[in-house]
Amino acid sequence: MTEPPMSIPLLEVTGLKTSFTTPRGTVKSVDDVSFSIAAGKTLGVVGESGSGKSVTSLSIMRLVGRGGGVIDDGAIRLNLPGQPGLDIRALDEKAMRKVRGNDIAMIFQEPMTSLDPVWSIGDQTIEAIRLHQDVSKNEAREKAIEMLRLVGISAPESRVDDFPHQLSGGMRQRVMIAIALSCRPALLIADEPTTALDVTIQAQILDLIRRLQKEIGMSVLFITHNLGVVAEIADKVAVMYAGQVVEEGPVRTIFSAPRHPYTVGLLKSIPMPGGMRVDDAGSRRLDTIGGMPPNPLALPAGCRFAPRCSLAIEDCHKAPPPLVQAGDEHGVRCIRWQEVSK
């Protein structure tokens, strides 16, 4: 467990467990996940498909039920400045709706399908504003226009009445951000917000999120599979694998001195710009992680990464490894972390 930090973090997630019941058995999508996000900071959550990163974010919003999921255990605490801490899991549905979109807002991967096609973008922004703020329709419209201008939509006075299909993917993601930030949330959860966008548009959106984060002073939980994006936007990183956080720490530590074999493997398997790895035979080859992630219905008894790990010893297969401190704010779920180096 981490030392209690000097200031209280905005969001504390401890021992979160979320599972889905499928016809073939129970899938523990998120299994004992803990992390915290400091006010104004960005936590990047990286992982491949099925690692549980999106389910984690939906659990924080308490939106897993729609997909048949249940939060089995753990605590989610939201500490808004100057207010008593909120126990997210204990809130009733009505109180939870006041948190959603107001204190915690969320943006998603698919800008093309994340907006209601039969509502104008203005009306969708106004809807969010009027849900959480006691303002008139006209005031809300003014605010909506203001938000659209803030996210870089030109001539927002006329665009406010546009419908989603009239906008490009990048523009729609800007609208999504405008809606999410219209109530100045303390936490923005961004679930792969740039994955469906082109690189040049991705750069614009990342810049926008960073700029607005500074202006509003919010924290960001940034979920992505792209290590490059994480390196750019995150202050702290949590690496997820098969429903667990296997390594967490400051972004520089994770990229320069990772201590979990999976993190190391991931970093080595991406083609590095500028650096071409040529092996002894003169061939350009990437390092790979052998095998595949475990079947979520039949997880290994010990370390979940052990079957693919070149450093695994007998003990690794016996019991699940605890998250141990490998350094300042640096946690690793590996019993052999001292032997791991990049």
Partner: protein, 326 residues
């Protein structure tokens, strides 16, 4: 590579799609998907085709396969123009040019076994006897790193990376001379992506494959390709040998693209060149240079003159009027 003539010589390739409705003056309108594109690919070469959505990279791939007919231009494969070959004569070339798709099973019959799927091409082109085909399927499966008995199973029993291996085996089954790989690793997780890239690398070295590698991922292209073609809005902006393009980009678009790509290194700060605004509509592209509306180096001349590709260094071409930048 003793043969000096290129395997593939594309010149003046144009593909337009007509659009419903008419313009303000009642004129018919077109999406200019590919607008006068010329390039060559040598035998054994791996050429990357990079661009964002709407750049025309997928359309070019599909035109080379004649999955869509070009509006104009020449596609010379081993000296024969296949751009306008009638279907019957095209048949022979369909064997020589194969495609690897982003999701190889989206377009395949899920009720056929993997072995049947791989053998399909051999059946169509009547290559070998049944026994020989069976043996070939086993050889191919082993070649792409799958168990030889995988042919007895159905596609849905395989993971994404394994499916892509099957897709590659399927393409190789008819011993093609040229492979168009359209975003073959884009849908895969990073760790699996590396496995498939390594496989492609091995096959390329073992079999001397000639590949057009279509991708939006600059790092993957840099890793895998010999030469790179950069597309924007249906036109070629720059062509250069890989190491040269990444170290000394000559075109403002390439510069911006490279600068926008996120790098897994938290210490890389430095100024990012952000291209402002959106990609213009391919129905009504800007006059002159198509990049000028977003280019930080644009001059008044850029709106008047359409820049042609010109050689700025050996094998390094760019379509930009300015010489005083980069």
């Amino acid at each position: 590579m003793n043969n000096t003539a290129p395997l593939l010589d594309v010149s003046g390739l144009i593909k337009r799609f007509s659009v419903k409705g008419r313009g303000p003056k009642g004129e018919r309108r077109f999406v200019h998907a590919v607008d006068n594109v010329s390039f060559t690919i040598a035998r054994g070469e791996v050429v990357g085709l990079v661009g964002e959505s709407g750049s025309g990279k997928t359309t070019i791939g599909r035109t080379l396969m004649r999955l869509t007919d070009p509006t104009a231009g020449v596609i010379a494969y081993e000296g024969t123009d296949i751009a306008h070959l009638p279907a019957r004569e095209m048949m022979a070339f369909r064997r020589k040019i194969q495609m690897v798709f982003q999701d190889p099973f989206a377009s395949l019959n899920p009720r056929r076994k993997v072995g049947q799927l791989i053998a399909e091409g051999m059946e169509i082109h009547k290559l070998g006897t049944r026994q020989k085909q069976d043996a070939e399927v086993k050889r191919l499966l082993t070649l792409v790193g799958l168990p030889a008995d995988a042919g007895q199973r159905f596609p849905h029993e395989f993971s994404g990376g394994q499916r892509q291996r099957i897709g590659i085996a399927r393409a190789l089954a008819v011993a093609p001379g040229f492979i168009v790989a359209d975003e073959p690793v884009s849908a895969l997780d990073v760790s699996v992506q590396a496995q498939v890239l390594n496989l492609l690398q091995d096959l390329k070295e073992q079999l001397g494959l000639t590949i057009l590698f279509i991708s939006h991922d600059l790092a993957v292209v840099e890793h895998f390709c010999d030469r790179v073609i950069v597309l924007y809005l249906g036109r070629i902006m720059e062509i250069a040998p890989c190491h040269r393009l990444y170290s000394k980009p000559a075109h403002p678009y390439t510069e911006a693209l490279l600068s926008a790509a996120p790098v897994p290194d938290p210490d890389r700060k430095g100024d990012r060149i952000v291209l402002e605004g959106d990609i213009p509509s391919p129905i009504d592209p800007p006059s002159g240079c198509v990049l000028r509306t977003r280019c930080r180096y644009a001059l008044p001349d850029c709106a008047a003159v359409r820049p042609e590709l010109r050689e700025v260094a050996p094998n390094h071409f760019k379509a930009c009027l300015r010489d005083d930048i980069l």
